[in-house]
Amino acid sequence: MNQPVLRAEISQLAELSNVVAQLETILLGKRQQIELAVACLIANGHLLIEDVPGVGKTTLAQGLSATLGLPWNRLQFTSDLLPADVIGVSVFNTSTHSFDFKQGPVFTSVLLADEINRAPPKAQSALLEAMEERQVSLDGETYKLDDEFFVIATQNPTDQLGAYPLPESQLDRFLVSIALGYPDSDEERTLLKSGDRRQSIQSLEPVAGPLQIKHWSQAAARLHVSDTVIDYIQALLNESRLGDNGLSPRAGLSLVRLCKAFAYLNGQDHVTADDVQHVFPALAGHRLTGQVKSGAIAAQALLNNVTAP
């Protein structure tokens, strides 16, 4: 328990920073969001992106899977989407006279679930079940998903028409929520000059593989979390419970996990209060208000109310 990260792992860390660096070449000026996305992946969590179309949600998902050498699928959620469209369907095979399971798009490593709040709750919950259990049950059979099953869901701002907002219990399944936001003017200028980055995704070389991801996860989980940090996290949880939507113990556990992953990503062998402050809005935002942007504001305000160590 709590063994410091070994020096031998420094090379691993270098590869991890290569992942971030490579992603930065295709998604300009979004280092913070990229770091959070990678930390989320290391912490075995799922990522929720809320933003308007065209700011690079798909690019991030594609880039992530290409850089990590993982297969990926994209699933567009629509208002007539059925659970079978998500997890797959059993088809009768006339030659063998039996049912064959035809895998749905969830059988992949990285699943980009686009506009998840456009689908009715039934289809949503099919995906969310797969996210939680990392397995799919159909007709009495259980099908395991990839170990590195990682969902990047995008969500339109809920004030848009035709959106079924995700209930709080399902939002809780997402470890991290971020908003990509528009690029800064300098970066946008570079983007406009150099053209669309999507072609360059094809040319991305994988920097790591599934094995390494597993290794990173395990290493991150071993990071030291001092009592000071635990005290601070508890103070934050208590402060959030003064309001209407308090953070659950599960959210607290997730926060510790994410802090570790983030600290590991930055090459530390322990979690500091700064790490907590850094990841807290992304973790607590959607849990506090059910929305990403207003949630991040609320979470930041909550941070300001608590004395940091």
Binding site: S240, L302, N305, A308
Partner: protein, 700 residues
């Protein structure tokens, strides 16, 4: 995480949330509530209705028509319309009632167009102001109590408006309640010691408000109407034992003018040719009983002040008030006491009287005291006949009294209506009436035989409520005064008909089955007891709180043993007391006083030294952030600060052995000492710099 906030988001933060609107709607409605009792109904409905519609609209924002109605432009139109309607309703605009009504409406209109935080701030101030204006109408305990929920909701709205994260309502209420309670002692302190303006803060150009009370003319039946009123006319605190009920004649307006049915005040006398003050001389009667008391008079919109017969001094509102604010009272030749302006606020004055039923005027009675119209000829003839049987005016007066007593006259609050020659009809036909009838008939008979006489109106009696006396409108009375042997002598013919009216009060003297004002009823019903208790509370409130003026203040100082403190002394005492209270309120809580670890001590010392060096720690700042900021701002010591910061983060966060931790602590202690000396030096330098600057500016 500023990266998450775009400009647009920052803008939306200044827009009001539905929760803020809820809080403000409640606040405004509560601030409006006390005014509903005196405003015209349509204004209440208009002003509160706009608020309610806006509130509904906040929660149903898709109603486009309403959105238009609640736009800024529409609000301006609504406000102007309201102004015009108010002007039409009242007929004037500059005055208490229309202005308060206008403010009432404007508050609603402002709420209708509210969008942003700044609007909310304006609304808070306006609500507070509207809340204050209700004291222009009433300063009773009830109205003070009515403001409490409004003040509370104002605080809650303020708290909700400034919350960083959504907190529960009870959380806000608790916070506001605690703040209010913590603030209350300071408010009380300020109330007592803050230098007072002489005179009430609330006096305004009066509006035409109807108040019950005596009027400047009287027809025989009139006082009967007044007698149905339980309203308090004034309250009296006696010094020493109060006199007997039968001696309590509170002298009010004196009426000499007579037109055959109505009595009125002599205008000539009322306007000028008045004997003022120095009345003790002509009353210099020695063996009579002198009595002192304080009258708390309810506003009645007339100039007269009431005193027991016969007043031996001018009413005084207190030495310190003289010249600045006073009633400027005067005593007229007919012994009426007048203030120089109508009584529109509750006033308190000290008064002393000699308990006499007669006095010697300095001037002869005028012809007005003999006026008789030809109307009541039967009475005049009867008086002539009766007078011929008696030798002296005194004997005649006594004869008239015994006539009332022996003939079948009855005392009633519901007399038969009288026609053209009311005295004749009363004397010989109806033979029932109220004090006004008997006094009128008596004076007419006196005048008919050439004895000057006149009507005196006022109050007779009063009810003791523990240590003070309440005199109600139902105690209104009229009696007669006759000029005999150079003296005006009081005769109360009512006493001849119904002696119990004077001895035991109104209820005892009325025949069975007559309607009696509720509180004048004899006996000890619980309603009456409760009502008396409530009156005592109100009187105490009036004495202790509302009438707390600069005189009571100087009394308070005297009691404390520090008469006439200077303003600066008061200020210092006030600041010291307030500071002491604040220190007590903000005293470190028990959890903060819990034993601290060595690390915590180090950490506190670190933030204190940095604070002295001008880098104050922000509440949500982590140690690393503070260290970074400090090493940038105090670049000459950046190395030391960075070392300290690193030591802290090692102790706090890193997985290191206890042995290494103590080694770090040793080094940390050394570094903190260095920082302490730097901080000290910086402070002395600063002081030296200041004195240097002070000297150079002094020499230049």
């Amino acid at each position: 995480m500023i990266g998450f906030l775009s400009k647009k988001q920052i803008k939306t933060r200044t827009e009001l949330r539905a929760r803020s609107f809820d809080a403000m709607a409640v606040m405004i409605l509560l601030a409006q509530l006390p005014h509903v009792f005196h405003l015209p109904i349509w204004i209440s409905v208009f002003g509160a209705g706009v608020v309610a519609i806006k509130w509904w609209n906040v929660h149903h924002p898709n109603n486009l028509k309403l959105n238009w109605v609640l736009s800024s432009r529409a609000a301006v139109v609504l406000g102007l319309l309201g102004g015009v309607l108010i002007k039409l309703h009242f007929g004037y605009f500059i005055g208490r009632d229309p202005c308060v009504a206008f403010l009432f409406l404007l508050l609603g209109c402002k709420f209708a167009e509210a969008r942003r935080q700044s609007d909310a701030t304006t609304l808070m101030c306006l609500s507070g102001f509207l809340l204050l204006t209700q004291y222009l109408y009433s300063q009773s305990i009830l109205s003070a109590l009515l403001t409490i929920p409004a003040v509370m909701s104002l605080g809650v709205a303020l708290s909700i408006l400034n919350e960083h994260s959504t907190r529960s309502l009870s959380n806000h209420a608790r916070l506001v309640g605690r703040l209010l309670i913590q603030g209350a002692p300071i408010a009380a302190l300020l109330f007592i010691v803050f230098p007072r303006l002489p005179g009430p803060l609330w006096s305004l150009p009066e509006d035409a408000t109807a108040t019950t009370g005596l009027s400047d003319s009287m027809s025989p039946g009139e006082i009967g109407n007044l007698s149905q009123s339980d309203e308090v006319a004034f309250r009296v605190d006696f010094e020493g034992t109060p006199p007997d009920a039968r001696d309590l004649y509170w002298r009010g307006p004196v009426m000499s003018n007579f037109d055959g049915s109505n009595w009125s005040i002599n205008k000539l006398q009322a306007d000028g040719a008045i004997e003022t003050s120095n009345t003790t001389a002509d009353l210099g009667n020695d063996n009579s009983k002198s009595i002192s008391y304080t009258v708390t008079l309810q506003p009645h919109n007339k100039k007269w002040l009431f005193a027991l017969e016969q007043a031996s001094s001018l009413p005084s509102t207190g030495e310190s008030n003289a010249g600045k604010f006073s009633l400027n009272p005067e005593i007229r030749a007919d012994k009426q006491i007048l203030s120089n302006k109508p009584i529109t606020n509750i006033v308190q004055y000290k008064q002393s009287s000699l308990m006499l039923d007669r006095y010697t005027p300095s001037t002869r009675p005028s012809a007005i005291d003999l006026i008789l119209t030809g109307k009541n000829s039967r009475t005049a003839a009867f008086a002539d006949k009766l007078f011929s049987k008696h030798e002296t005016p005194m004997a005649f007066a006594m004869a008239v009294l015994s006539w009332f007593n022996t003939q079948p006259y009855s005392y009633t609050l519901q007399p038969t209506l009288l026609g053209d020659s009311p005295i004749d009809e009363f004397m010989f036909d109806t033979q029932n009436g109220f004090c006004g009838h008997y006094a009128s008939a008596f004076v007419v008979m006196m005048r008919a035989v050439g004895i000057p006489a006149r009507i005196v109106t006022g109050y007779q009696g009063g009810e003791m409520n523990d240590d003070y006396m309440i005199v109600r409108q139902s105690e209104a009375h009229a009696w007669a005064e006759v000029f005999i042997d150079g003296q005006w002598i009081r005769f109360d013919p009512t006493a001849a008909v119904a002696p119990s009216r004077v001895d035991y009060g109104l209820a005892a003297s009325l025949p069975e089955g007559e309607p009696v004002p509720r509180l004048a009823r004899a006996g000890n019903g619980w309603i009456k007891r409760a009502s008396l208790r409530w009156d005592r509370v109100n009187h105490g409130w009036q004495r202790m709180v509302v009438d707390f003026n600069n005189e009571s203040q100087s009394k308070f100082w005297k009691k404390l043993g520090a008469p006439n403190p200077q303003l600066w002394q008061i200020t210092i005492a006030l600041l010291a007391l307030a500071a002491a209270w604040c220190m007590w309120v903000l005293r470190p809580s028990r959890s903060a006083m819990a034993p601290v670890t060595e690390d915590q001590k180090f950490w506190r010392a670190y933030s204190q030294y940095l604070d002295k060096l001008g880098v104050s720690r922000l509440p949500a700042e982590t140690g690393a952030q503070l260290t970074k900021r400090a090493s940038i701002e105090l670049s000459e010591h950046s190395e030391l600060i960075a070392r300290i910061g690193l030591a802290f983060s090692k102790i706090k966060f890193e997985p290191i052995s206890n042995k290494r931790k103590s080694a770090i602590r040793v080094q940390l202690k050394r570094d903190l000492k260095k920082l302490a000396s730097i901080a000290r030096r910086a402070k002395t330098q600063q002081i030296a710099l200041q004195t240097l600057q002070g000297k150079s500016s002094a020499t230049s």
